[in-house]
């Protein structure tokens, strides 16, 4: 199987590799996949509480070159978007951008799942933070 130039570029120069403090209230963490399946993605976002804009994104991925490229691309795409905008990213957009072959479509699905999981984690934190905030205000 040969890889597209974009997959190779992301593999050789992955964007936004790293980790952020997952206990921070502004950070949402998504961990999807399983080692037994050969793919695990961790995608993190840091969201501006005022604007809901994703200001930072980081990833780490255990998986094939296409999985690494899909998650690397996902961090590039979510950065600068609002949380709602980021949720509109679909796996097929990733497939198209990276020219993934059919056997690698699951990599793009996992990247979409990772975005959703990270946003879901961040939203949960905002909801659980609210009662605390109101308690302080009283």
């Amino acid at each position: 199987m040969s890889y597209s130039d974009k997959v190779i570029d992301h593999y050789n120069n992955p964007r936004n590799v790293g980790s952020m403090d997952k206990s921070s209230a502004d950070v949402g963490t998504g961990l999807v996949g399983a080692p037994e399946c050969g793919d695990v993605m961790k995608l993190q976002i840091k969201v501006n509480r005022e604007t809901n804009v994703i200001e930072e994104a980081r990833f780490k991925t255990f998986g094939c070159g296409s999985a690494i490229a899909s998650s690397s691309l996902a961090t590039e795409w979510v950065k600068g978007k609002t949380v709602e905008e980021a949720l509109t990213i679909k796996n097929m957009d990733i497939v198209k951008e990276l020219s993934l072959p059919p056997v690698k479509i699951h990599c793009s699905v996992l990247a979409e799942d990772a975005i959703r999981a990270a946003i879901g984690d961040w939203k949960k934190k905002q909801e659980s933070a609210k009662p605390v905030a109101s308690a302080v205000a009283q």
Binding site: L31, F62, V103
Partner: protein, 425 residues
Amino acid sequence: MSTDVRVPQQLPVTRHSAPQGVKLPIYMDNHATTPMDPRVLEEMLPYFMEKFGNAASRNHSFGWAGEEGVETARERIAKLIGATTKEIIFTSGATESDNLAIKGVAEMYREKGNHIITAVTEHKAVLDTCKRLEKYGYRVTYMPVQKDGLVDLDDLKRAMDDKTILVSIMFANNEIGVVQPATEIGKLCHERGVIFHTDATQAVGKIPIDVNKQNIDLMSISGHKMYGPKGVGALYVRRKNPRVQIAAIIDGGGHERGMRSGTLNVAGIVGLGKACAIASEEMSREAVQLGGLRDRLRDRIMSRLDETYINGSMEHRLPGNLNISFAYVEGESLLMGINDIAVSSGSACTSATLEPSYVLKALGTGDDLAHSSIRFGIGRFNTAAEVDYVADRVIETVERLRELSPLYEMAKEGINLKDVKWAGE
């Protein structure tokens, strides 16, 4: 192997420069196939043009020349494995030899019984042939293997019953290079009047084989795994003590004692014969050399990377084979990082089925480590400088990919990955 071959030429030009004396890309996938030895090619060449005759043409010199080439090859193969010339049947390769041996025995001995024993780590040419026979009413026992990849002789004893007609256990495994106790398996079979077939594709010409001392009745041989040409192989069929009979699966002109019809691939057969002649001369010296290179590769990699695991027995192993799992790194991504080196992975991503290697799973290697495995196949033309370069590239790439791996990060934080509830499970 379920793994397929990475073709480095399809990938972009590497940013690495080769050290002195090393030419890139490096081929280190000699279980998939071997390059042909130039001495083999030289011997074959006349048989494409001047000596083009049909070896079955008995009435003119063109046919005689072809026949002479074939019979010399037959002698050379027989000599390498301790057989007689009448016991060598030429085929198109080891897959055909496996099919002929297993289906041929199944049909010929149907009156006697319908039970076949094989092992879960066999090549698909054996497993799928057995599966086919199950459809026709044969019973097949697929024996498990031990952690080191070897079959348990007591398991084999227990698996045999009065309907057992055939045991098919490979001589050496194509993924992990583990060498089975063929002599003991053959002895058990002969004590019970059961025929013993062994797929020796990876072993012939690499380690000593004697069909008589090792109680082998049928043995599959391939040309292209031992520096000979592709598309040619042989089946050893024992003629006495006991005499083994097989039904043909290809009918026609009655070539090869009626066991395999079809005009002989004379040039290919000559090449296979020459490859065997070279092996007879050089095998013992070459095994020491390959074993040394293999240990050098293993030591260099394992002294600098933690959490690397060897799959299969190191003691009972082909000299040129090394199969290592690199924890927290997925095999295909590792292959992509060492794209100027041709090796294979047991990762699902490199297989058509999206399942990781069934051989590694059979050893009890977890799926996660099966995804992380790389098979190195060191061969006749590899050098110490190449081994060092390969080791260094692997180390550097594993380190880079571990920095990218969430699993490595979690393990470093002290999280037991087995305790994590994974979303995908």
